[in-house]
């Protein structure tokens, strides 16, 4: 129904503004429903202004800034409607170390509701996880899973 959608949208929007500021350490962002179109059909416009920078088209954002903006929105959706578990496949590939830290720090507050499974090649992400599974192919073409500790991983 229209009212439900608009109500949920406004909640996500407000969480998005807050999540963006936290993940970027400042700045401003917003999501807006396309004008002049029925709310149940309208597209979603995104505005994002990292700290110190001027407003400009989000297409001009860097690869890492685009990922952090999308993560802010994903986290905003989780705040409104948390999932019991969530799987993220290499979402940190384009992030520098400082952004991986900020992302993992904010992730902590969702842990009371949600189990996170993160696939990553990134050492920082591994060190900040509670449990690590190593997947290998000792026998070519056949996957095998091993539980790993952080010391084995850093080897």
């Amino acid at each position: 129904s229209r009212e439900l959608f608009v109500k949920t949208f406004e909640e996500i929007r407000s969480s998005f503004q807050e999540m963006f500021r936290r993940l970027f350490g400042g700045g401003r962002a917003d999501i807006v429903l396309q004008e002049g179109v029925d709310v149940l059909e309208a597209g979603i416009e995104i505005f994002a202004k990292p700290p110190g920078k001027e407003n400009r088209s989000i297409s001009l954002l860097s690869g890492g800034e685009k990922v952090m903006t999308t993560i802010s929105l994903l986290f905003a959706v989780f705040k409104t409607k948390p999932s019991p578990f969530c799987i993220l496949d290499e979402i940190d590939a384009a992030l520098d170390e400082a952004n991986v830290d900020r992302f993992m720090a904010v992730l902590q507050e969702f842990l009371s509701f949600t189990q996170f499974i993160i696939i990553s090649h990134n050492r920082r992400t591994m060190t900040m996880s509670d449990e690590i599974y190593g997947v290998t192919m000792e026998e070519k073409g056949v996957s095998k899973v091993l539980t790993m500790s952080l010391d084995t991983v850093s080897a």
């Binding site: 439900l4 959608f5 949920t8 949208f9 996500i12 597209g43 979603i44 416009e45 995104i46 297409s59 954002l61 690869g63 685009k66 990922v67 903006t69 999308t70 993560i71 929105l73 994903l74 959706v77 409104t80 409607k81 948390p82 999932s83 019991p84 578990f85 969530c86 799987i87 993220l88 496949d89 290499e90 979402i91 384009a94 842990l111 189990q115 996170f116 499974i117 993160i118 696939i119 990553s120 090649h121 992400t125 591994m126 996880s129 509670d130 449990e131 690590i132 599974y133 997947v135 290998t136 192919m137 026998e139 070519k140 073409g141 056949v142 996957s143 095998k144 899973v145 790993m148 991983v153």
Partner: protein
């Protein structure tokens, strides 16, 4: 609802019986390129009822059955079981633990079970509806998808919202 374990056999590169046990907090899955990490993401979507072969990176559904290596023969079917803690009764089944199993044979024939009872694919999808977990939900972010999102049109982005709202 909590994810307790996923048992895999014959799904993509997981030829041998493999068990993944999950606890609270953050579980990180690591390993070299091509070793099978994203195949774990695929098997999760598949158990939850994913029917889009493209979103499982295949050309036909039988592409998910282990098809052999230079030293091993292909399998005749792929099977995976997800075991969930349902103490909070988020799943509409009056049991503390719920198991969902999916199987597909070389013939293309699929089988579905909830707590070892044969069901239809439709029943699995309905089981997970409104739980925040399911094939169309935002709880699975595949490799490469996060980069696609912000570059997509404002209409495509709407789909994320429709899931949540």
């Amino acid at each position: 609802m909590k994810l307790k374990k996923i048992d895999i056999r014959g799904f993509k590169s997981f030829a041998d019986k493999t068990r993944l046990t999950f606890h609270d907090g953050i579980t990180c899955i690591v390993g070299p390129n091509g070793c099978g990490k994203s195949n774990i993401v695929d098997v999760t979507k598949w158990i939850l009822g994913e029917q889009s072969v493209k979103s499982l990176r295949g050309k036909e559904m039988t592409d998910v059955i282990f098809n052999g290596t230079t030293t091993r023969k292909a399998h005749g079917y792929a099977e995976a079981t997800m075991t969930l803690d349902n103490e909070d009764r988020l799943l509409n089944i009056d049991m503390d633990e719920v198991q969902v199993t999916r199987r597909v044979h070389r013939t293309g024939e699929g089988e579905y079970f909830i707590n070892q009872q044969p069901v239809r694919l439709k029943d699995i999808k309905e089981l997970f509806m409104d739980t925040g977990v399911g094939t169309k939900s935002y709880s699975v972010m595949e490799q490469g998808q996060i980069e696609v999102f912000i570059n997509s049109s404002s209409k495509d982005r709407r789909k994320l919202f429709e899931e949540a709202a």
